[in-house]
Symmetry: C2
Subunit: 690 residues, 2 copies
């Protein structure tokens, strides 16, 4: 059992209630003595989110790179390994650590199934390598090494005793050879320095006094769709014929339309019965008329709550049929989980203790002073029966999982207890590790990050408001070059039912196209609220950053076949994303200089695949400029021309060297999405050359 | 008892030997449920060296600034405190946390005695502040707030019940006033929003569901001389009359000379009996003659080992007398602890198990292949009796502590077990927290840092070889702008008996002066090996970066009164350091731009004190150029002239605005050390000005 180096200070919690000479100091000394012979320090193991308090996230099949500082005294050579296993497996698997400069070491492993994993680093003094290095130098200097050879023989002999089979035999033989003073020392030096011997000794180390980083670090391994996904949000109730209230059966008819656009996830706003008390009318007005359909986020009515289907949408059977049809078309169905209740929700009567009661006996409605949301009651997470509330909320997820849902978009998770989310998501993922949770939190940065650390698989982001080159590059740097990359998976949305940003209100088709390309190529997960997006719906409710005649409060009749629809561009973008592995990752993005601030240029590489994107951020004017690439980092030979194939417009360009000219007209297409072929053919590639 | 957020992943070590549904998961869930009502996350507490594995270091009376992220769901206001105490004290002391931007909080405390301390952060939801904020907004919006006032009355009433005395009475009265529906609501709102009430509620929070970062973090509080010290290294054996072997009594006669130069620490190379076997002769030659004095680092002879005084230096009584005289002159005596043995050391016979034996029965001497050091045996820290070895080495320190030594310069600590140092220094400092350990390790960066983390108070550095403006600024940034600042206290040495760097060999007086000013003003701790330094000894042993006729191997007769001696400049520099608090810190250094690479410019601020240093790095040529200061950060009014007083040359300059001209001649004095007076007098300061 190796000794354990860990993030705990070896400190004195016991002493806090004792006197100063106390057991704490003895226990601290015992800990220090336990480490007495473990010569290697294992430090700064990465990834380690918040010092290991939270798991890092990866997807199945990813190469998980683990690094650590290994520091030993003197000139000792050290060696080490990454230890890893699925949580609960008794045996560690191992991958070797290789040295980087400055006492940093790196290893990697590939988790082969989803679920929770754990990993750590173990390191030890490599006595044989130290000895071999010394022998090499002494022999080179012509020194007498006969004692060294005997010492080496002893090291090899002990290794032989530690192991068995072929290794043991081979090592025993070497040990004999090294100690055979009949044989010329030069010959024995050659045996000692043999690379095969070094390898065999490396594989049979003495790890009695190894040091292990403890406790192990946690890793959440998700399905690939946690990293790579395209979401389409749709209000099923707008799918009815001739302006009638649509049903899930009607909405199912739209599945091919969504699938043809190349989406992976079809996300439905809440499908539960809608409250009548304080129901909102069109455009968020108070006092709805009898025919107003209400807001789906005012959940719960006589017909049921979070586990019921709104009768006007259909039945639970209809929902299951909808899920099945979507799955058959290659689409996951995501539902919206909004943990709040309309005043008519059955829980209000059944569990009044889950809500906060005011001095006059009424229940506290939602508010953001001085704004009031009287159609919605928040849950009281400080309730005396918080355990009961937690269990019931958990059961909502489990209920829909039973109906075939594996993807949840969670509404405003930041207004619910963070501790609840950590517990709830952990409970669910320990049984259903394939479930994906998208956090719809637009709030303070550290609260958004906290939700991701505590378990959310993907997160909404500030992308929706980031428009300039500087803002985009800075935001992507934050997401992909800081610790956030280990736990926060962005999902970029150009619009949502809540947000019609100003650049879409005023930028016309050019703005829709550029935001579409940016969202879908900057982030490996993106989503749009349709058909508002592809139909370029852009009239705001006066004074608001929100749609007029918003589907949140009323039905809409969309002309999906309209000539101006962007659905074919969307389909092309999603097709490109599926074809290009480089676009299926986010933290591989690199920005490149341009001499025009309105032109943003970035690339993504994944293995051999290289994609280069240039977007004109000005929706009104044609822009041109020079793009400057760091060809070396892109693996492009600066001495040879290279070919760019615009996967959007299908044009091809031959570029040469780092600086090249680009012109983009937002009235045609404000973006290039280039596949880069790193070299063009020359005469030597010609069939009959030579 | 608050809930505990900590660097541990809540993970499943038990599960590692069980099956997958195992107790581990239940225990994990129990941990999560225990946190159920603790709404605030406490994250990224700083300082926390290596996630809290190692203590941060401060000196007594320092303001210890502690920061943390406090993240709560929703719009809840939070509050928090820094908890701190000397290790072993039963009760936490508290300092308030104040908010910074972006959910970061900051508090501070001042440790009032040396020794180990611990600190942590606790945070809770501030229900009253949340309520008060809502009331304010609703009242401003003219809403009916009678229910809010009743709710507030309840909050205040509960606070009154939690406390006693004056607070309880005052709060009870407010609770009654707030709930008195006879009184006009506007009047009650005024009562509710009263700042004094807010303060009283803030001081009586409900911390039932507080979150505490756990385990607490450790802090080593050292005496001020751990941060601010000037060291002088002297071979006492060179102090004899007429070239004879000097004694400690002779060396004591030099104490006034060293004290007059303004040093704090007088450091003596090893004072123990010197081995005879394989003794080195002058200039590191093999085969010493009978009169050769040997190398003090080859420790141990028939006369004794690490606890004995070399007979030619005198007796233990002489040593104690020497220490007393030094102390009387304001000097600490530092001795050199070099854990290695000459072949004649008594331990070689008494404890052969502490050394590594070779196949021919001989003891392994020190080596750095292919170099051999046959006059020195290293200890074998893998010895079967390593515990015995550790205890004996510890007892060496304790022995000299008993003789009055409080400062140790440790020779090559990086070639001894790191675990030993952690244990040894911890043991010593738990009894003698005022002891200072200087690590003499010139080795790989992470190993140097590891020694500091594991306990060394101060450390030698790469300053000795950093000469250009870029190198110096980069190195200081590493030492003062990274985590290193929390645990690594640099001690800058322009020379040592082992190192006569090339710039001193070839740069003449200008180089000695510039290195003197750089070492003593960049770092709050510095040292020099004298009299070689002040006498500008600069002839190397051919081909080496080391002195010819080095005192390590022979006696030297120094002419301390030589005209060319720099001792008066050294005295002036050390006097300036004592007068200027800004120079008594290191991590307050800021570099400023110059338009000449040979001119380096930096400032240090401490409270009101502001020192600006400009050094000409070219020892051969006069250089001039423009210095550009960020006046705002220096607290200098850009609209008014300011006065610079050169504390080295006593000249005064009036500067104006950020850009000013400087010229420095290395043949006169290559540096300015300016005291900056932030404003000059004008007519309004004139006595009779009205």
């Amino acid at each position: 059992m190796p000794g354990l180096d860990g993030p705990h200070p070896i400190t004195s919690t016991q002493a806090t209630v004792g006197n100063r000479t106390a057991p704490a100091d003895r226990s601290r000394e015992a800990q220090l003595l336990e480490m007495g012979l473990r010569r290697v320090l294992v430090e700064k193991v990465a990834p380690a989110v918040d010092c290991g308090r939270h798991p890092a996230k990866r997807t199945v099949g990813d190469r998980v790179v683990v690094e650590a500082d290994l520091v030993a005294d003197g000139h000792e050579k050290v060696a080490g390994a990454v230890l890893y296993r699925p949580r609960g497996e008794p045996t560690w698997r191992e991958a070797p650590l290789e040295p980087l400069p400055n006492d940093r070491w790196r290893g990697a492993f590939v988790p082969d199934r989803i679920g929770r994993w754990e990993y750590t680093v173990e390191a030890w003094v490599d006595t044989f390598a130290t000895w071999r290095d010394g022998l090499h130098k002494k022999a080179d200097a012509g020194q007498d090494v006969h004692l060294e050879l005997l010492e080496g023989a002893e090291l090899v002999h002990r290794a032989a005793e530690r192991t068995s089979g072929e290794d043991a035999e081979a090592l025993s033989e070497v040990a004999r050879a090294l100690s055979d003073e009949e044989v010329d020392a030069a010959v024995r030096v050659e045996v000692a320095l043999d690379a095969a011997l070094a390898a065999r000794m490396h594989h049979n180390p003495d790890r009695t006094d190894a040091t292990r980083h403890d406790p192990p670090l946690a890793l959440v391994v998700d399905p690939v769709r946690a990293r790579f996904s395209a979401w389409y949000e749709l209000f099923p109730r707008s799918s009815g014929p001739n302006g009638a209230h649509g049903t899930l059966a009607d909405a199912a008819e739209l599945i091919p339309y969504v699938a043809e656009m190349g989406f992976d996830v079809l996300y439905l706003p809440p499908i539960h019965p809608i409250g009548r008390t304080h129901r909102k009318g069109p455009n968020n007005t108070l006092g709805a008329g009898p025919d107003d359909v209400g807001c789906p986020w005012a959940i719960g009515a006589a017909e049921g709550g979070h586990k019921a289907v709104h009768p006007e949408l259909g039945t639970l059977d209809d929902f299951r049929r909808f899920v099945r049809r979507a799955n058959e078309a290659g689409l996951e169905v995501a539902i919206d989980i909004a943990f709040q209740a309309s005043p008519d929700h059955p829980w209000v009567k059944e569990h009044p203790e889950w809500f906060r009661r005011r001095p006059d006996g009424t229940i506290q409605y939602a508010e953001n002073p001085p704004k009031k949301y009287q159609d919605v009651y928040p849950f009281d997470f400080d309730s005396k029966d918080w355990r009961g509330l937690w269990e019931e909320l958990l059961s909502v997820f489990l209920f829909w999982i039973d109906q075939g849902v594996r993807t949840f978009r969670v509404d405003n998770p930041h207004t619910k207890s963070l501790r609840f989310w950590e517990w709830c998501i952990d409970r669910i993922k320990s049984e259903h590790p394939d479930v994906v949770f998208l956090s719809e939190a637009f709030t303070r940065p550290k609260l958004m990050y906290a939700l991701a650390k505590l378990g959310f698989t993907q997160s909404y982001t500030y992308f929706t408001w980031r428009t300039t080159r500087h803002e985009l590059a800075e935001y992507l740097a934050e997401l992909t070059r800081t610790e956030a990359r280990e736990f926060f998976r962005p999902n970029f949305w150009p619009n949502t039912p809540d947000i019609l940003p100003e650049h879409l209100q005023h930028g016309g088709r050019g703005a829709f196209l550029s935001r579409l390309v940016l969202a879908s190529t900057l982030s490996s997960s993106w989503g749009m609220y349709g058909p508002a997006f592809e139909l370029m719906e852009r009239v705001p409710r006066p004074g608001a950053e929100e749609y007029v005649d918003n589907e949140k409060y009323q039905l809409r009749d969309w002309d999906l076949e309209a000539d101006h629809s962007l659905r074919h561009v969307v389909a092309r973008i999603n097709r490109i994303r599926r074809d290009r592995p480089a676009l299926q990752h986010t933290d591989n993005v690199r920005f490149h200089a341009t001499d025009n601030d309105e032109l943003i240029c970035y690339s993504k590489q994944w293995e051999d695949d290289l994609v280069l994107v240039v977007v004109n951020l000005d929706p009104h004017h044609r822009h041109s400029g020079w793009v400057e690439l760091d060809l070396r980092s892109l693996g492009v030979d600066p001495e040879h021309p290279y070919l760019l194939h615009d996967l959007l417009g299908d044009a091809r360009y031959v570029w040469h060297g780092p600086r090249n000219f680009v012109e983009l007209d937002p009235h045609v297409m404000p973006a290039h999405v280039f596949e880069v072929r790193r070299r063009t053919r020359t005469e030597v590639d010609f069939d009959y050359f030579e």
